[in-house]
């Protein structure tokens, strides 16, 4: 697959703060590329430089081999993290205005269908729910039938149902062969949607690869979860790698049979035992020593 966007040694300084500190990566055509990290990691600064909104302090960004220019602006669709829309204008009128700003545009009906905007088409944009608003902003990002779509934390603040609906929309965008750049701080979201991810912390890339590769590369163990009281009832001291997680205890092990036998031998009840695979959240904790979400 050929590269759509190439980023080389990108740097952005804000008054003494190195928000983005020399990062390089390539986004292949037709893939969904995830940019992950906690708040303040430099995700939004990075993505806004890629969108041509912010000027990099140093480094280069190439779109289809060229520096960002009018062609990029015509072919990119952008959904910002927070966008105010003009007030007193309905959803339909907002879409119409944006579609007139482009020479190439998708028929409005197609957008309305694909982003499920029927039920609130003639509503003032100030009176939309969080999920409706995000769907409208996504529709605006798609109005010019873009080759590349930027989605900056599209599901932050949405309820689980609205989030799943947006995921479906992103999958349908991917299915049409578009390239998607997604930032998120939900690891689950990245795992569901992205072909490749980079994890950022303090302006640097700390891990890169497909979600499954990253997990396989860093983890060979699984997590056994037990209620804290059950674990504490052990008759003899246990020699296990256990993490205290509030009401429960997480035991990390790559030899599940041995560990279970050890617990049974110590008289620990396994009635409420749960086993889960390692997630990107664990990976992030492992890499940075920080919780991804406070």
């Amino acid at each position: 697959m050929s590269a759509l966007i190439e980023v080389d040694n990108l740097v952005k300084h804000y008054q003494g703060v190195r928000a983005v500190d020399g990062i390089s990566f390539t986004i292949a055509r037709g893939t969904c590329f995830g940019l992950l990290g906690p708040n303040g990691a430099g995700k939004t600064t990075t993505v806004e430089m890629l969108e041509g909104i912010k000027e990099p302090t140093a480094g280069s960004i190439r779109y289809k081999g060229e520096p960002l220019g009018p062609q990029f602006r015509r072919e990119a669709g952008i959904m910002f993290q927070s966008t105010a829309l003009q007030e007193f204008i309905t959803v339909r009128e907002t879409l119409r205005m944006f579609s007139r700003l482009y020479d190439r545009s998708v028929p409005l009906q197609t957008l309305i269908d694909s982003c499920a905007l029927h039920s609130f088409l003639d509503r003032d944009t100030r009176k939309l729910s969080g999920g409706q608003r995000q769907r409208l902003l996504l529709a605006i990002a798609l109005v010019n039938d873009p080759d590349v779509v930027f989605l900056d934390e599209p599901t932050t603040g949405l309820d689980p149902q609205a989030r799943r609906m947006l995921w479906e929309l992103v999958r349908s965008i991917k299915a049409r062969g578009k390239t998607v750049l997604l930032t998120t701080h939900y690891m689950e979201e990245a795992y569901e949607l992205c072909d490749e991810i980079i994890i950022m912390d303090q302006g640097r890339i700390i891990a890169q690869g497909s979600p499954d590769d990253l997990l396989a590369r860093h983890f060979h163990d699984v997590v056994l979860q037990l209620p804290r009281d059950d674990y504490a009832a052990a008759a003899v001291p246990l020699d296990l790698k256990a993490l205290d997680c509030g009401d429960s205890v997480e035991i990390l092990t790559s030899a599940v049979s041995d560990t279970v036998q050890q617990l049974l031998a110590a008289g620990v009840s396994l009635d409420r035992l749960r086993i889960r695979a390692r997630t990107l959240d664990d990976l992030f904790l492992e890499l940075t020593g920080k919780e991804l979400r406070p």
Binding site: E51, G52, I53, P70, R73, R74, A76, I78, F80, S82, T83, A84, L85, Q86, E87, F88, I89, E93, T94, R96, M97, F98, R100, L101, Y102, D103, I140, N144
Partner: protein, 329 residues
């Protein structure tokens, strides 16, 4: 052009549907005019004014108490003043003539005194015309002031708000150019202001019935040029600022002195010369001067050309600065 039109239409809808702002734009000047029409509905000061073409002799008619005798140089202008009731009588002793407004009771009274004294030999020239009340004089000022507020805040404040809440950032990510965006804002505000001003003008005319001696073309030119000038001024304020509070402070700093020193409420004639010089830097002064000349004195388009020229020059400067300084973020 398609892009410009798209933003133009959206901005129009936003303004027209914001009932509070629209209502304020329409009602504010009407309240002011109504208030002043009521407050100044009594008779003007009881002093008679007589114009004399040469230094008046200090005897006979020319010593009548409670009459102010004013030496006039420009006879034509003085005749207009008689027509407008701003002079009660005009006497030209050397030419053996006098002018009186047949519709002015004060003029009739002074004529009697003149003829009873030493003016019996003078030839009478009759003129006619309505009295110019304070409200006639005030209307162009209030319309001008309303235009100023609407232009400065409707453009300056709104663009700053767009910048602060991210509307500009969203538009920056499209092929829309800064010039297209700014032109759409100017065009939208211009026609909305002229429409609102027309409604206020004709609406007020219905119940106050103020003077309008000039042509509508000349008046339109004065208001349109003034509006464009003050919108351009708003663009300069809005070019970079991202804080609504700062924008509001700056707009107040500009609009309040203009409101009081541009001759909206009272004539600048007779004020300190420094104030009169200061007033010349305000576009509002020139717009009101032109509009007043058209409405009260019936000035033609050519006669207000100097004011239009000043406004045009100011507009060019403001636009150049505004477009050069403009940043989406």
């Amino acid at each position: 052009m398609k892009r410009l039109l798209a933003v133009f239409i959206a901005r129009n809808k936003e303004f027209l549907r914001d009932r509070a702002a629209l209502g304020w734009n329409l009602l504010f000047p009407v309240f002011i005019v109504a208030g002043f029409a009521f407050a100044f509905s009594g008779e003007p000061a009881p002093l008679y004014k007589v114009g004399v073409t040469a230094e008046a002799p200090h005897d006979g008619f020319y010593t009548t108490p409670h009459v102010q005798f004013i030496v006039v140089d420009d006879v034509a202008a003085a005749i207009t003043k008689v027509e407008r009731h701003r002079l009660d009588l005009l006497v030209d002793p050397a030419g053996g003539r006098y002018w009186v407004n047949d519709e002015s009771p004060r003029g009739q009274l002074l004529e009697r005194l003149l003829l009873a004294g030493d003016g019996a030999a003078l030839h009478k020239e009759s003129v006619s015309g309505r009295i110019i009340r304070y409200v006639d004089w005030l209307i162009p000022g209030v319309l001008g002031m309303n235009i100023m507020f609407s232009a400065l805040y409707g453009v300056g404040f709104v663009i700053v708000r767009y910048r602060k809440n991210g509307v500009l950032k969203r538009l920056k990510a499209t092929p829309l150019s800064a010039i297209e965006f700014l032109a759409a804002q100017v065009a939208s505000r211009l026609w909305l202001i002229l429409a609102v001003t027309s409604v206020v003008f004709f609406g007020t005319h219905l119940f106050v019935g103020f003077a309008m001696y000039g042509t509508y073309l000349a008046l339109f030119a004065a208001f349109a040029m003034g509006t464009v000038c003050m919108i351009s001024m708003g663009l300069v304020i809005a070019a970079r600022i991202a804080s609504e509070e700062l924008a509001e402070g700056l707009l107040n700093l500009i609009s309040w002195p203009m409101m009081f020193l541009s001759g909206v409420w009272f004539s600048l004639e007779g004020t300190h010369p420094a104030v009169q010089q200061l007033a010349k830097i305000f576009p509002l002064t020139h717009m009101i001067e032109a509009a007043r000349a058209v409405m009260i004195d019936g000035a033609s388009l050519a006669a207000i050309a100097p004011q239009l020229g000043v406004l045009l020059a100011m507009t060019a400067v403001f636009l150049a600065i505004g477009a050069r300084l403009f940043r989406w973020e």
